[in-house]
Symmetry: C2
Subunit: 213 residues, 2 copies
C-alpha cells in the first residue's frame, strides 16, 4: 500500500485539492516534524499534549515516563487518539486581506496506542527517536540502563488512517486586485539551527563531534 | 487577575516546576505563536485542526470560512475545546540518552467558542490577526468587502483556564555521567525569515514596503 484510504475522518473536505494521501508525502512530513500534538478526549473533554515522536516503517512511536498521566490514560483505557503535525513554510501576502494565507504541510492521523514491550523494538524506537532529534547522536551517548528502561513507557500507533494537507506557492488574488499598488508575494519561514551552547559543566578537552558541526 | 487559577485540567502534574500560570508568560507565548492546534471531540472521537489565531485582551480569536465543517461543529454544538501552542527553542543534548530533552514553551487552554457578531470586534480581530502574521500589513492591503465578511466566521474564546509549560537551559545529567567524554549542551533552534519571494504577477513599479524589509 502506497496510499492511505480516504475515510470520513481523513478526507479533506475544505479545499480538497490541498489533500494528499500517499505514504511518501505523509511520511516525509512526519519525519521532518520535531514534535506532534496528541489529542484525546475523556468523557467528552478534549485534551492535547505536544510530544516528541518518531516513525519506523508503518508505525509511529511516542515515549515518556511511566508516571505520565496522559500516557497511562490513553494506553490503559485504549482511548482513540488523533495525532497531528504542522510545518509552517511561509506567510502568503496577498493584495486583499481575504486572500492572505500560510504555506504549510500538515498531517493528521487516527489510531490507538499499544504499549511496546518487545525489547528490541523499544531499543530501536529510542535510537531512531534520538537520531531524529540529532542525527548521529545515539552512537555517541550513554545508553539507557535497566532503571531508566523501567521508567520509560513507549507507545506505538499503527499508521493506517492518515492524511496530509499542504499549501505551497504564491498568493491568489481576485482578478480586479492585480492592478492595485500593493506588494504581494511570500515571506518564507524556516526553523534554523543556531550556534551550539556548550554545557558549562562540559569536561575539559571534549570537542564538538563532527555530526554537530 | 494576573494569574490563572490552577484547575484540575490546567495543573501541571508531570514536572510541576515547569508550569506557569501568570498572564504575562502565557500571553507572550500565545502572541509569538503563528498557529494553534484546536482539539475537540465528537462522540468520543478526538479531532484536531491547526489554525491561525490572535489574542485581544483576554480573548483568543480564530477565523475561517463559514463553510468550515469544524468551525460549524464547535460553534453550533457548543463543543468544549482545548487549544494549544508550542514553540520549540532547542534540542537539549545530555550525556545520557535518558536525559536528552527539548527546550520549549507551550500553552494549553480550555474553553468554548462564541460566534463574534459585533462588527467592530470582527474588524479589529482580523486587523490584529493580519498584523500578527505580518506587522504593518493591515494598513497596506485591500480590506474585506461585504461578500468576504459574509464568508468569514470568527469565533472567540474567553481566556479563563490556561497554563504554560516551559523548559529552558542546559542538560541535567546524572552525577556519575559528568566525567564521560561526551559533548553536552544545547542546539538552539529558531524560526527565521528567509528572502521574500515576489509574486510573479506583481504590478510593475511596486516596491517592497518598509515593514517587510
Amino acid at each position: 500500500m502506497s496510499e492511505f484510504p480516504k475515510t470520513p475522518r481523513t478526507s479533506i473536505t475544505r479545499l480538497p485539492k490541498r489533500g494528499a494521501y500517499d505514504k511518501e508525502t505523509i511520511y516525509a512530513i512526519l519525519d521532518e516534524a520535531l514534535y506532534c500534538t496528541l489529542a484525546y478526549s475523556n468523557e467528552g473533554q478534549p485534551f492535547q499534549i505536544p510530544t516528541g515522536f518518531c516513525r519506523m516503517g508503518d508505525k509511529l512511536y511516542i515515549h515518556g515516563s511511566v508516571g505520565s498521566f496522559y500516557l497511562r490514560e490513553i494506553s490503559e483505557k485504549k482511548l482513540p487518539v488523533s495525532i497531528g503535525v504542522t510545518l509552517i513554510d511561509g506567510i502568503v501576502l496577498a493584495r486583499s486581506a481575504f486572500h492572505h494565507s500560510v504555506n504549510y504541510r500538515s498531517v493528521v492521523l487516527f489510531g490507538k496506542g499499544e504499549v511496546v514491550s518487545d525489547e528490541d523494538e523499544l531499543y530501536r524506537a529510542l535510537e531512531v527517536f534520538t537520531n531524529k532529534m540529532c542525527p548521529g547522536r545515539w552512537d555517541d551517548i550513554r545508553k539507557p540502563n535497566k532503571k531508566e528502561w523501567k521508567a520509560t513507557l513507549v507507545l506505538s500507533f499503527d499508521l493506517e488512517e492518515a492524511s496530509a494537507k499542504i499549501r505551497t506557492g504564491g498568493p491568489k488574488d481576485d482578478e480586479e486586485d492585480y492592478d492595485l499598488d500593493i506588494w504581494a508575494g511570500v515571506l518564507p519561514l524556516k526553523q534554523e539551527k543556531q550556534s551550539l551552547i556548550p554545557d558549562p559543566a562540559l569536561k575539559e578537552g571534549v570537542e564538538v563531534p563532527d555530526y554537530l558541526k
